[in-house]
């Protein structure tokens, strides 16, 4: 037995043993194929003017006509800017918050209270955005909200009509997003911290390293690969946005469009009345292609600076 293990590790570490593992992965692979790869075939609809009598395949080609509406006005700039900037903020702040939570949780995890904290961290992620939007509304409603009726008067400040003041919303949206997702994202980090060798911390402690020193010298460097993978994965979604966050939470308020319009909300608002399959496919294809290019780009950047940590 030990001999087999040794050769297995040395020569072809994967091939000989991959069979059973592939079988385990089979349902997942099938799911990927059926759910994610086969539908990609439909991307050609983005270049068609759909005619229901002639059917999908015989409908006339229209070139890039279906894409035009995305770039028709100066909204194009606003929505692309919003989508990108919000996602960048979410990725940066989200990673910081999640790692911070994970580092803090690592020391709590042995206490009985840990279960309570973990459940508490997960809970916001299970709340639907529609409900989140009403939680936010309970705080910000102009006439009845907690902020305007209790908090601002306590500092003797004038009530603010939140839903018509665009300048506050970048902060409100980021805060809401962090509240909802940071706990959930931190699970991956908590898991990888839990897997770290306790011996290292022990010897660090013997050598006289304090808590902070341990975090910066051991935990964070060991977390780096996980962080990179997580960031790369979110970079792929950088052109997509959480529709609920940008549509429901600001209550679809027109005065806030400058800071809440993203590609998804624009497509929704614009196409609601047409049900045009070609144009919606075009928008989806555009987001995916740009996301794909960005993942490739980010990955090759990672490769250049820290070869071992790249995704592929």
């Amino acid at each position: 037995m030990p001999g087999v293990r040794k050769t297995g590790l040395k020569s072809h570490p994967r091939r000989e043993h991959s069979g059973p593992f592939l079988l385990i992965a089979l349902p997942g692979l099938l799911y990927l194929l059926v759910n994610n790869y086969i539908p990609m075939f439909g991307a050609f609809i983005a270049f068609k003017k759909l005619d229901y009598v002639q059917g999908l395949f015989k409908s006339p080609w229209t070139g890039f006509d279906n894409f035009k509406f995305l770039f028709q006005t100066k909204d194009a700039f606003v929505m692309v800017r919003n989508t990108l900037l919000y996602n960048l903020a979410f990725i940066a702040l989200g990673t910081v918050c999640a790692v911070l939570i994970a580092v803090l949780m690592a020391d709590v995890s042995r206490m009985p209270a840990a279960r309570f904290f973990q459940a508490g961290l997960l809970l916001p992620n299970l709340v639907s955005m529609v409900i989140v939007s009403y939680l936010v509304y309970a705080f910000l409603a102009p006439e009845t909200g907690l902020v305007n009726t209790e908090i601002l008067p306590a500092f003797s400040m004038e009530p603010i009509n939140w839903y018509s003041q665009a300048k506050y919303w970048p902060f409100i949206l980021i805060l809401t997003q962090m509240w909802k997702t940071a706990g959930y994202t931190s699970i991956v980090y908590i898991a990888s911290i839990a897997g770290m060798d306790a011996g290292m911390y022990e010897s660090a402690r013997i050598d006289g390293a304090g808590k902070l020193r341990q975090i910066f010298a051991i935990t964070l460097p060991l977390l780096k690969p996980t962080i990179i993978v997580m960031v790369l994965m979110s970079v792929g979604r950088i052109f997509a946005s959480d529709f609920g966050l940008f549509y429901q939470v600001p209550m679809d308020s027109g005065a806030l469009y400058d800071v809440t319009q993203t590609i998804d909300t624009y497509v929704y608002r614009g196409l609601m009345r047409f049900g045009n399959v070609g144009m919606s496919s075009a928008a989806g294809l555009f987001q995916s292609v740009v996301g794909f290019i960005l993942v490739l780009g980010a990955n090759s950047l990672v490769k250049r600076f820290s070869a071992g940590d790249s995704l592929f």
Binding site: G19, Y52, V53, K74, G254, A255, G270
Partner: protein
């Protein structure tokens, strides 16, 4: 090992694909099976009542329903088909009713048409788009051949020009749902509060007459808002404007982009006119004086809730007939009255939804025969709407129905009671107990008597300016709620709004509408 797993993968994949085909193919199997089955029980069973002939052409009707979709409605289909077989044996058709909620309705139609699942009749929301994508059939020949009764009842209730608005490129694509189409801007107010102010309802004839009453209301009832919206973000001033100034909205009763005043024949931007500026100014004034809730542009709380809470004096919304006050009184327990505050201008956009025949229909003739029955047969209409009499609903008198003892809309086994705007002719529908039948007849009379636009019958094909309209929709929802609710300052926001409309291409839309209107005028002279 690797090869085996690939093989398994491929096999499973193939199996999934074939399974998919057989379940969604739907081209032959069902139909042929029925023909085969129909041949066997040819021997008549005389005493079993009207037998539904198995070889009858099945017409699948995708019906939009706003209540809970019942789990099973075979009984309803069976009852209707027995009735059809007994009453119209020569038509040789049977109905397959399928109900869908508003969220999935259009998606279900698209899916059925793409996958070849049978669907014959449905209610397109926005006929022009369906015509542009070739999803519906021209009906004029079918109507003359198989639709004489439905044509007659629609001519009587809506007017002889009723089919004109469903004409696109010289073909008729829809059969209008036969109901009252006039929605008059109506002031709905608390009668007791008005009495307390000392003003008479006769002294209120337009928006401009309201502030004096509002001031008094604020003085008497500090907790009460003089005015709130019926629909979120919409004070109803644009429909009032359209009614007062004879504005033909050129088929756009949602965003009102590109309209014609009177018989001028010129398509213009409504938002760039002094009339719009004046009304937006009035709303700003109301907002600043505190007549309306400050968050009216975005708040999901609407007039109904404020009425329920006893914190509202008035609202304005479009209603058919003249008895909405009584209905609201019944549901809120307050003493509510109503008064028409502006006329309604009957243009093409007033036309209701229409029933259309799917371009994938196997038997358009059978579909039209079914439409003929759907619009003219009281039993079929009311069974689709309310289910089986005695079990799902009970008749109160000749014209009224109610739920059986102890049941309501959520507990009854079948109902599509809110689909009265989708199925058939309004005067043949039983009315909810409490609604006056006189009011129904008034609504139908209004159809014929209301002032008509000289361009009634013009329809607009948006396919060339879809990009502009998409962008304009966004501009509309960005500015209009704030402007019409007064939370945006028109001095700043109105020029900004018009600039944004120009950037989004309103001129191209107006030019396209003008071209099509000119062509229509030339063709109809």
């Amino acid at each position: 090992m690797k090869r085996t797993s690939t093989a398994i993968l491929a096999l499973t994949l193939a199996a999934t694909l074939f399974a998919g085909c057989s379940s969604t193919g739907g081209f032959g199997p069902e139909g042929t099976q029925e023909v085969g089955a129909g041949a066997a029980p040819a021997a008549d069973t005389p005493e079993a009542g009207p037998e539904v002939p198995a070889q009858a052409d099945e017409v699948v009707f995708y019906c939009l329903s706003f209540t809970n979709i019942p789990d099973s409605y075979d009984q309803v289909n069976t009852a209707i088909n027995e009735h059809i077989a007994g009453t119209y044996p020569e038509a040789n058709v049977k109905l397959k009713l399928q109900l869908f909620g508003p969220v999935e309705y259009e998606e279900k139609i698209r899916l059925a048409m793409q996958s070849g699942t049978p669907v014959d009749l449905f209610t397109p929301l926005g006929l022009a788009n369906y015509v542009a994508q070739n999803q519906v059939l021209p009906l004029e020949d079918l109507l003359t051949e198989y639709g004489r009764d439905v044509t007659a009842i629609i001519h009587e209730d809506i007017g002889t020009d009723a089919f004109k608005t469903y004409e696109i490129n010289g073909h008729t694509y829809g059969v209008p749902i036969n109901k009252g189409m006039v929605v008059t801007p109506t002031l709905i107010y608390d009668k007791d509060m008005l009495a307390a102010t000392g003003y008479s309802i006769d002294s209120i004839n337009s928006l401009r007459d309201l502030p004096k009453v509002f001031d008094k209301i604020k003085e008497l009832y500090p907790e009460v808002f003089p005015y709130a919206n019926t629909n979120q973000g919409d004070t109803h001033i644009i429909p009032i404007l359209a009614g007062e100034n004879d504005i033909d909205v050129m088929m756009d009763r949602v965003t009102y982009m590109g309209v014609v005043f009177g018989d001028s024949g010129q398509v213009v931007n409504l938002y760039d006119t002094p009339w719009f500026a004046e009304y937006v100014g009035i709303m700003r004034d109301w907002y600043e004086k505190g007549y309306v809730p400050k968050d009216m542009a975005t708040s999901p709380s609407t007039a109904t809730e404020y009425f329920n809470a006893g914190r509202l004096f008035s609202t304005i919304a479009g209603y058919g007939g003249n008895e909405i006050g009584a209905l609201i009184s019944a549901s809120t327990g307050r003493n509510i009255g109503n008064k028409w505050i502006a006329p309604f201008y009957f243009d093409s956009s007033a036309a209701s939804l229409a029933t259309a025949v799917s371009s994938t229909s196997k038997s358009p003739a059978a579909a039209m025969k079914m439409i003929n029955i759907l619009y003219t047969d009281e039993f079929v209409i009311n069974t689709i709407l309310y289910g089986i009499e005695g079990m799902d609903y009970v008749k109160v008198d000749e014209h009224h129905w109610t739920y059986p003892e102890g049941k309501d809309v959520n507990t009854v086994s079948y109902t599509a009671a809110f689909s009265t705007g989708i199925v058939g002719s309004e005067k043949l529908q039983l009315q909810t107990a409490g609604v006056s039948y006189e009011d129904v007849l008034l609504k139908l009379r209004q159809n014929v008597e209301c002032k008509r636009s000289p361009y009634y019958g013009f329809t607009f094909d948006p396919s060339k300016v879809v990009n502009e309209i998409t962008a304009l929709n966004n501009v509309y929802s960005q500015y209009i709620p704030g402007l019409v609710c007064g939370s945006l300052d028109p001095a700043v926001a109105l020029p900004e709004f018009n600039k944004a409309l120009k950037d989004a291409g309103i001129d191209a839309l107006i030019a396209e509408k003008q071209t099509q209107l000119n062509a229509w005028i030339a063709a109809n002279r």
